[in-house]
């Protein structure tokens, strides 16, 4: 495949994607890009994470490209490297490191040094302001958000975040990249939680408040909402996501907006404090006996 997908300037193409961070999100993004024909460098400083990512990539690509040698070809397009210095010059850099502003700033300051001038610099952040992250570079107009959902190789939706300082060309290039992955880009302004993580808050919060108020128990809340067509009731879903992860998202949206209706639930705070995190701790709203 290969070919010219994302035109940054007239004549230039995005062919090489550099993904920084090989956690669940970074590895999934790398797999999606390789499956779409891009050359990918996946940058990860921890050797253990690189090993885990290599195993995960094989599995994910096998699922995305089940026929013939396509998965093996895509895998061959990915190089797993230890540092940005070992990566080839990229057309698009996607940062997918943990959600700590200092860490993101370190990454973007380094990108500023190593990335070719026209490269598009993207962050996969879900909870930080893209404009804040962009401050670490001398070319904030090239910075956008490209927010994938978990699992990134399978979820069709990608939020393309247009921050204050993002240029039109950068947004357009990000949209074209996402389309070339076969996914659906939705352009969103740089606001807390973007669309999905913000608009979904009441689904969890109203359930938590109802249980806390004694209106109904978790099982009834789930049954009532599943009976209305929701695939998974909010309590079962929080147990799956992890109550701590879900609470962290609510907190970050609440702290950035200060909207009373989005205030975190004391019930969820208590459950997290007690270690009732959901499936991963074998106990959340439901028991998952080990």
């Amino acid at each position: 495949m290969g070919g010219c997908g994302v035109a940054q300037d007239k004549g230039a193409c995005t062919n090489t994607i550099i993904v920084i961070g090989a956690g669940t999100m970074g590895a999934g993004i790398a797999a999606s890009a390789a499956a779409a024909g891009y050359a990918v460098a996946l940058v990860e400083s921890a050797a253990s994470a690189r090993e885990r990512a290599a195993a995960g990539l094989t599995k994910t690509l096998g699922r995305l490209l089940p026929e013939g040698t396509a998965a093996a070809d895509a895998f061959a397009r990915i190089s797993l490297v230890e540092s940005l210095a070992q990566a080839p010059p990229g057309d698009l850099y996607i940062e997918a490191v943990p959600e700590l502003l200092d860490l993101k700033h370190t990454v973007f300051a380094e990108l500023d040094r190593v990335a070719p001038a026209p490269a598009l610099l993207a962050t996969n952040t879900s909870s930080l302001a893209v404009s804040e992250i962009a401050k670490a570079t001398g070319r904030p107009q090239n910075v956008v958000g490209i927010h994938f959902f978990n699992p990134p190789a399978l979820m069709k939706l990608v939020e393309v975040v247009r921050a204050e300082q993002s240029s039109e060309e950068s947004v357009r290039a990000a949209v074209e990249f996402v389309e070339r992955l076969g996914k659906v880009p939705v352009v969103v302004r740089d606001t807390p939680g973007f669309i999905v993580n913000r608009v979904a808050r009441p689904y969890y919060l109203e359930a938590l408040r109802a249980i806390d108020a004694g209106t109904a128990d978790a099982e009834s809340v789930d049954a009532i909402l599943e009976g209305l067509g929701f695939k998974m009731g909010p309590c079962r879903l929080m147990d799956l996501i992890g109550l701590d992860v879900n609470l962290a998202t609510t907190r970050s949206v609440y702290e950035a907006t200060q909207l009373e209706r989005l205030r975190p639930s004391p019930l969820q705070e208590r459950m997290v404090a007690e270690g009732r995190l959901g499936r991963k701790s074998a106990r959340g709203f439901y028991d998952y006996g080990k």
Partner: protein, 236 residues
Amino acid sequence: MASKGYVVVFGRGPVADDIFKAAQAADYRVVAVKDLRTIEREVAEATIVVEACVADHYRKYEALEAMGRALQPRAVLLADALPATVAECATWSGQPRRCVGYGVVAHLADQKIVELATGAATLDDALEQARTFFSELGHETRKVGDRPGLISGRTIAALANEAAWAVANGVASEGDVDRAMQLGTNYPRGPLAWAREIGPKRVVAILENMRRHEGDAYEPAPLLREIAGSKEPAQR
């Protein structure tokens, strides 16, 4: 064939229409009343009286008061408990012992489970009658606490409201918000398309119920009012 009972359904809109049709299909003798002037005559004969005014508060108050006046001592009064609490409906009807709240958001068929809620004075046999009625209509019931919007109404209304505020805040367009929510969360419908389908007036009425009891945090977004055609004069 002996009918199971005499049902009077008062109101306009999908909730009233669907309960009417489902009751008919379940072999109840059922009459739909749309005019408040004839309600007392019909209620005087009925064993099950369904109030489904859906949105308009004043009309709901008037209807419940009239229904309560004519209600038979052993009949049950089923009040739409999404735009007002059961406590309020029970008081307005003057029949707190016979009043049971139910939660049907819009179309009965879209809902496997119908929530029921009671007031402080509701008698057990009235609740039992309510359970039996919805079970004959093919729906499971769950008793929940008397909280504004119950579970179903407040969840959908709060989601639609957050989506509408996001549009108002310029996060994305209405279509993009709905598209993102459907693709990103597996919700059965986009929250704003859902609100349009339910009727934005009803969604606003549910939010107003939450707001009256729980404070301005639940203020309906202007976009919802706009599509409901009930924009507050102060905002014009």
